[in-house]
Amino acid sequence: MMTENSQDIPGLVCPIPLAHDDKIVLGHGSGGKMSQDLIEKTFFPPLDNPILRAANDAGIAVIDLPQKNGEKVTCRLAVSTDSHVVNPLFFPGGDIGRLAICGTVNDIAMMGAQPSYLTASFILEEGLNIEILQNVLESMKDSAAESAIQIIAGDTKVVEKGKADSLYINTAGVGILPPGVNIHGANSQPGDIVILSGTIGDHGIAVLEARGDLGFKSSITSDIAPLNGIVQDILKITDQIHTMRDPTRGGLATSLNEVAKQSQVCIEIYETKIPINPAVLSACEMLGFDPLYIANEGKFLLIVPEVFVEPILQKMKSHRYGQDAVIIGRVRANPKGRVLMRTSIGTTRVVDILSGELLPRIC
């Protein structure tokens, strides 16, 4: 029996999940505390190294390129990989193909690197309609063109019926990190401002609706989008961005908690400033979800010194993927590692990391 006095208390859920230590359960894939615990306790021990430990959206490989004259040129590469297992494959606003491209493009973009090349490997379930595969590939082609990346290596495997949910895709990508850019989860400083690029919860709710199990209908669409373009625009204003994150699984709350912990700061956000599509809010109310924990696939957080905020906001708002950009909070020194939210009624409460699987509640 565990007796550790855990520093990280799971989020406001009823009840708190068990720490599943012997078998993988769905909660391990939710992006929250259980996922983190799995990585810490099972993945890190055999695979540990400083680059992985930095725990950013992409790993930064430092490569010394020998020159003919004997000198060396140092190049930094952002490298990332992502697997996609979404069900259903197609949903309002996107599909697994677009997700596969944008997911990895965004991880690299969040480091300030420009993604250039991706790989794509496919696990196909026996019986999958080839027409579906073709539609997915068309979508990947369009997303690749929009992101200005090329897929330069790939792989396919076929598994027996029942061993894969129609189709799984893994993408990996690289991008060169320009000199002077140091965007890192541990870089946020007290006094920094937190900017969010747009509405939260759209992707998670759109996919949940498309699955049909909970029986609700709306016009909510996923927000899947490649963010490398808008990030490059911002980098032209300044390369002094401290942290960027795209809040995917686990939602805004989880990403903020990760940064607060890595940077050992307190992040304070304002509930009334967080942009949410009214229909997403209604769906969350109905199901008992907190929008702070729902996945996004076309949004990002930007933590920057206050002096750069106005020009960055202006630039973001003029971009297709940043029209609803807004300041949602600021970074303070204490309490370290905590995310606090000033509620709409003026109180302050702790915002925890997502604990297990996001589940609708009756309570």
Partner: protein, 362 residues
Amino acid sequence: MKFLTEYRDSDIVQGILAEINRIAVNEWVLMEICGGQTHSIMRYGLDQLLPKNIQLVHGPGCPVCVTSLELVDKALAIASLPEVIFASYGDMLRVPGSNGDLFSVKASGGDVRVVYSPLDAVKIAQENPNKKVVFFAIGFETTAPANAMSIIQAKMMGINNFYLLVSHMRVPPAMHTILSSAHNRVQGFLAAGHVCTVMGYWEYLPIAEQYQVPIVVTGFEPIDILNGILMTVDQLEKGRVAVENGYSRVVSLEGNIQAQQVINQVFSECDRKWRGIGNIPKSGWCLNPNYLDFDAEIIFDVEQIQPEESPVCIAGKILQGLNKPTDCPAFGAECTPVNPLGATMVSSEGACAAYFRYTEVS
């Protein structure tokens, strides 16, 4: 959203708070027995706003957390059976039994499905005639009409592979237990607004009378909760004892008669074990004799399951407001949110889990 967001208006919140501060001269201990109200209080930090002389104690109001360990273990056993599709409200999947939870059953190959409505579980039964579909019918009075209708629909449609594992709890007997304890500190109650939407509040009149305790039917949004507190404190300061309705937009004295009739058709009172408290007589609802064909506890061989509550856990005393979490020897040691021993640590809205989190921050 109409009838929802206007009850979060911060100006009105501040105004009601000012009024509470004005009239609250003495020290009072109030309790709410409703997981939804506890959730709202935590989510909006409402307890931070109250004057120091008003103490809010969170009662055993979350049906997910007070469902007995025995029934959770029965659920896990039934869900593990290969011929069963086990359907449940989402939040039950996380509740720890003696050995794991429904997620671990799912990981071991059990067919466990989340449904939003019990009618969805009936549909699953209809679509899977070769499987036995068992629905985990938990909840207080609020959820009983829905759970009851699932059985009625199944019977009407001739669906004979649908079963209920029933764990219904009733609020009034819990209030009796709390108020009749020799060490009771609770002086006023916020009655659960949605329980009263179904049952009305006529059941609370004899309780208020017997124990001389004001009871105010209260809603869930910040304004509703503060209004409930205001009305209760007002009675206490004036030495009045009455049952008042602070949620009149959906609650009436008699409640929803139709729903109560259907509940009585399908269920009758029985004893019920509450996790962390123990048996409270007549505090549950069980299936009536003519619906026993649907009773999963009978159909599946789970009679032998008899788990024990932790002997160390004092959740029962905490739920009744008799002790603080810090009084418990296991608090923060053997009993933590990651390894909970009792109901109040199982739920992150439970007193022990809340103390654990907030004592860290301050």
